[in-house]
Amino acid sequence: MDNFPYLFAAYTVIIIILLVYVFSLHQRQARLRQELENLKTSLKEKSK
């Protein structure tokens, strides 16, 4: 059990990196969806 802190650290780091990446994908998706909506709206208004 001497090595347990290293095992804990390794799995914690792996999980944190994966969660941060998935969260960043989610954030980027929300931002891009919003930007796309805004662009479509402004283009519609421009063409009127």
Partner: protein, 226 residues
């Protein structure tokens, strides 16, 4: 709609596989006699490296087909795979460093396997930087060339433990007569490999759709004079 169902199916499959993998890693598989409990890092360290290799193979393939056909879908696939490959190479490097300390008594050693993996990481970080700063018209071609050249390092990383005397353990699968894993360890590794591969497929789908959206926004901006 089909895309959403596919994503949901992958999320459910991925969740089930990771739950089974974590159960096998922490509750079922026996502790390795020489290294002790820290050897369990192996079951996520190796699949991370496998996913990184798979991702960089797709960057290589996407680059080749893009240069031949100039079809942007291949470039989107290559770019998405490169980003995910960098994430999984980061996981491989960091989990390896943490595993090394109690076994080798050092965090890092400049042996062929570790150094070539670090070079691999640097090359694909370079790929992402080139894509971020190159003009939009030239980025895909530059990226394709870099992705093809960078892939040369993948077989070097893989074969380094066969070609040179290294600190890193010799291959446990296909490594000769004295190599091999007991059945329980092999099964745990296979389930982890499956979980990581499905996670990769899911992340690739998500990143691909984001890249498409980025392209759509660029086109709207150019077309609408915004």
């Amino acid at each position: 709609m089909n895309g959403k169902i596919a994503n949901l199916s992958l999320i459910i499959l991925c969740g089930i596989l990771f739950i089974v993998a974590l159960y096998l890693v922490f509750m079922w598989v026996p502790t390795e006699a020489n290294q002790g409990i820290v050897q369990r890092v192996f079951y996520f360290h190796v699949p991370s490296a496998w996913v990184a290799f798979l991702a960089f193979f797709l960057v290589f393939l996407g680059g080749l087909v893009y240069l031949k056909k100039r079809d942007p879908r291949w470039d989107i696939m290559a770019y998405s795979a490169a980003e995910i490959g960098v994430v999984f190479t980061t996981i491989t490097l960091i989990s390896g460093v943490i595993w090394a300390k109690p076994i080798w008594f050092v965090w890092w050693t400049w042996d062929a396997r570790l150094t070539s993996t670090l070079v691999l990481w640097l090359m694909y970080v370079g790929y992402l930087l080139v894509r971020a700063y190159a003009p939009a018209s030239q980025g895909p071609a530059f990226g394709a060339i870099l992705g093809i050249i960078g892939f040369v390092d993948v077989p070097i990383v893989f074969l380094s433990i066969r070609w040179w005397r290294v600190q890193h353990p010799t291959p446990v699968i296909g490594g000769g007569s004295d190599a091999g894993l007991p059945g329980s360890m092999l099964l745990t590794l296979m389930v982890s490999l499956a979980a990581f591969t499905v996670l990769f497929a899911l992340l690739l789908r998500l990143r691909y759709s984001l890249r498409q959206m980025e392209g759509e926004i660029e086109e709207l901006k150019l077309g609408g004079g915004i």
